[in-house]
C-alpha cells in the first residue's frame, strides 16, 4: 500500500518558561489552533492521538482530551507513549490511518507542563521514575534526570568517535543563531564561544548550553490524505517517508555503535520507504535535547561518515547560511523543548516556506527525527515541500 498522507494543519500554544497552564490546557488550545490552521471545524477531526512526556500522568493529559475538545465521535483514539519519540510515532500512525481510510482528519498532539509553581527548571524531569528493578540503581548512584544519563552517552561518544568540546559548542552556538531569527524561540540572545565555555557544568561533559530547558506548552498537527489536504486552507505538506527503530542494547553496553543503532535503522527505513537518500535532504530537524545528539544524528542518519560530524558543524556549517541547515528554529536547545514535536513543528514551517527570517530557500525535503528514552527509541519522518506532489 502506497502511503497517502499529508500534514494539513499546525498549531502551537504556550511555549513558556513559567509555570502557566496544565498540559491539557495547552493541548486543548494547540489542537484547536491546528484545526483552524487547516481550515477545519473542530468537529471534523475524527481521529485523536495524544502524547505526553514520560513524567506526566493520564491525569495531566490523556484520553480525557477528547471530551475536553467536545469531540463526540472519534473513529480512532489513542494515547501514544514512546518517550521523546511519541510525536513522530503518532504522526506515523495517523498517516497509516488516513491512508487506510480508517479516519480522515487525525489530530496528533503533544502537551507538557513540567514547570511547576515555586520550582526551579532543574526540578522538572528529575524525579525518581518508577524505582523498579535494576534500573533503579541509577538513583543510588546519584544519576537523576536526563542530563546525567545522556552525559554518560556523550562521554562514550566523545571518547570513541573523537568529538570535542569545541564541536559541542559549535552545535549550541548554531542552534542559538537560528533561534535569534525565530520569534517563537525561548532563548534569542546571541551565544558566543566564551559564554558557552564560561557557563556552569550540569553533568560533565555537558555544560549549561548543552542542555535544553523545559517549557510549558503544546503542539499539534492535523494529518489527512494528500487529496483531502489539497482542498483545505493551507498547501499540504506531504509525508514522503517514515521509519522507526527500537533497540535496548545502548544502555547495556554504552558502545557508540549501539548508541547510534536505533537512529541509523530508523533513518535507513525512512529513506527506503521514500526511495530517497541522505543526499536528497535539504534541511534536518533533529532531536537536540542535548547538543551532542545533533552530532550523533548527522552521523547516524548518513549525512556524514561516523566521527565526522565535527567537521560539518564547525565554522557555522549547520547554522544560518551554512552548507546544511539543521534545527532552523533553534531546536530544543534554544527554541523550545516540546520533545518530539519540536522537530516536527519546524519541519512543517520550513516545508511551507513560513520560516520568515530563518527560511531556507528552495527546500524540496525536510527530515525530522525523534529520540526517546536514552537513545532507545527512534522515529523519523521525511516531509516534502508544501504543495509539491509526493
Amino acid at each position: 500500500m502506497r502511503l497517502d498522507a499529508a500534514i494539513a494543519g499546525l498549531g502551537t500554544h504556550g511555549l513558556r518558561r513559567d509555570a502557566e497552564g496544565t498540559a491539557t490546557d495547552h493541548a486543548w488550545s494547540a489542537v484547536r489552533a491546528a484545526a483552524d490552521d487547516a481550515g477545519l471545524a473542530l468537529g471534523q477531526v475524527d481521529g485523536l492521538i495524544v502524547c505526553r512526556s514520560g513524567g506526566a500522568t493520564e491525569a495531566d493529559l490523556g484520553l480525557e482530551l477528547q471530551a475536553e475538545l467536545g469531540l463526540e465521535d472519534l473513529k480512532f483514539l489513542e494515547v501514544a507513549l514512546c518517550e521523546g519519540a511519541s510525536a513522530i510515532l503518532a504522526i506515523q500512525t495517523a498517516a497509516l490511518l488516513v491512508t487506510a481510510g480508517v479516519a480522515t482528519h487525525v489530530a496528533c498532539v503533544f502537551g507538557d507542563a513540567p514547570m511547576r509553581p515555586g520550582e526551579r527548571a532543574s526540578a522538572a524531569f528529575s524525579g525518581v521514575k518508577g524505582p523498579v528493578g535494576l534500573r533503579s540503581l541509577r538513583y543510588g548512584a546519584g544519576l537523576f534526570g536526563a542530563p546525567a544519563l545522556y552525559a554518560l552517552a556523550c562521554r562514550r561518544y566523545m571518547a570513541e568517535y573523537g568529538a570535542t568540546e569545541e564541536d559541542l559548542a559549535a552545535v549550541a552556538i548554531a542552534a542559538r543563531a537560528w533561534a535569534v531569527r525565530n520569534p517563537s524561540a525561548i532563548f534569542r540572545t546571541p551565544l558566543d564561544r566564551d559564554t558557552y565555555f564560561n557557563a556552569r557544568w550540569i553533568a560533565e561533559p555537558l555544560r549549561l548550553y548543552d542542555c535544553a530547558n523545559p517549557v510549558n506548552g503544546a503542539a499539534a498537527v492535523i494529518v489527512t490524505t494528500g487529496a483531502r489536504a489539497a482542498d483545505l486552507r493551507r498547501p499540504p505538506v506531504p509525508v514522503l517517508g517514515m521509519g522507526q527503530a527500537h533497540n535496548r542494547a545502548a544502555m547495556k553496553s554504552f558502545a557508540v555503535a549501539d548508541l547510534l543503532r536505533p537512529a541509523e535503522l530508523a533513518a535507513a527505513r525512512m529513506f527506503a520507504s521514500a526511495g530517497l537518500t541522505p543526499a536528497d535532504v535539504d534541511v534536518l530537524q533533529c532531536y537536540d535535547a542535548f547538543s551532542f545528539l545533533t552530532l550523533m544524528s548527522l552521523e547516524a542518519y548518513g549525512f556524514c561518515p561516523p566521527g565526522q560530524a565535527g567537521a560539518m558543524v564547525r565554522d557555522g556549517g549547520i547554522g544560518p547560511g551554512g552548507a546544511f541547515p539543521v534545527n532552523t528554529g533553534g531546536g530544543h536547545l534554544s527554541g523550545f523543548y516540546l520533545q518530539g514535536m519540536t522537530p516536527v513543528v519546524e519541519a512543517v514551517i520550513q516545508a511551507r516556506g513560513d520560516g520568515g527570517e530563518r527560511q531556507v530557500p528552495g527546500i524540496r525535503t525536510v527530515m525530522a527525527g525523534n529520540n526517546g528514552g536514552i537513545l532507545d527509541y527512534h522515529a523519523t519522518l521525511l516531509l516534502g515541500a508544501a504543495g509539491a506532489r509526493p
Binding site: 526540578a123 528529575s126 535494576l134 538513583y139 543510588g140 544519576l143 562521554r155 553533568a203 554504552f254
Partner: protein, 131 residues
C-alpha cells in the same frame, strides 16, 4: 540520612537486591549455557529462563562516567560535585555506580573495585573505588 531511592525488586532483580541488603553483589548464571548475566528474564544467548545465583568478585572497569553538579535529591546536597557512571564487572554485567577516583582525573577503562554502601533507610547502593 534520606535514601535517594527505595528499591522495588522485580523477578529478575530479586536475588540481586536480597544480596545487596546482605552486602554482596549477586549475579545470575544461566542454567542453559552458563553465561553470567544480571537483571534478565531470559538468557539473551540461549533463551533459557532458569538461573543460579553467583557472587561477583567486585573487580570492575569504568565504561563511562560523569560528574554531577546539581543536587537533584537532598541525599546529594552536600556531595556535589560527585562522580557516577557505569562500570563493567569482571564477570561481564554492567552496573550504575558512584565512582571515587581519589583526586586524579577519571578515564574510561580505569580499573577498580565495587563495594556495597549504605544509602540510609535500609537501602544499599554501589560504589566503585578506582585503584
Amino acid at each position: 540520612m534520606t535514601a535517594p531511592v527505595i528499591h522495588q525488586p522485580d523477578a529478575p532483580s530479586a536475588a540481586f537486591f536480597a544480596g545487596l541488603a546482605a552486602g554482596r553483589i549477586m549475579l545470575q548464571r544461566c542454567g542453559g549455557c552458563g553465561a553470567v548475566l544480571l537483571g534478565v528474564r531470559q538468557c539473551p544467548s540461549c533463551g533459557a529462563t532458569g538461573f543460579d545465583a553467583v557472587e561477583a568478585s567486585g573487580a570492575a572497569t569504568i565504561v563511562t562516567f560523569t560528574r554531577i553538579h546539581i543536587a537533584y535529591h537532598p541525599h546529594f546536597r552536600d556531595r556535589i560535585p560527585y562522580a557516577a557512571g557505569v562500570v563493567r564487572l569482571a564477570e561481564g554485567p554492567s552496573l550504575y555506580c558512584r565512582i571515587e577516583g581519589a583526586g586524579a582525573p577519571l578515564s574510561i577503562g580505569d580499573r577498580g573495585h565495587v563495594s556495597v554502601i549504605d544509602l540510609g533507610e535500609g537501602q544499599s547502593g554501589l560504589q566503585f573505588n578506582r585503584q
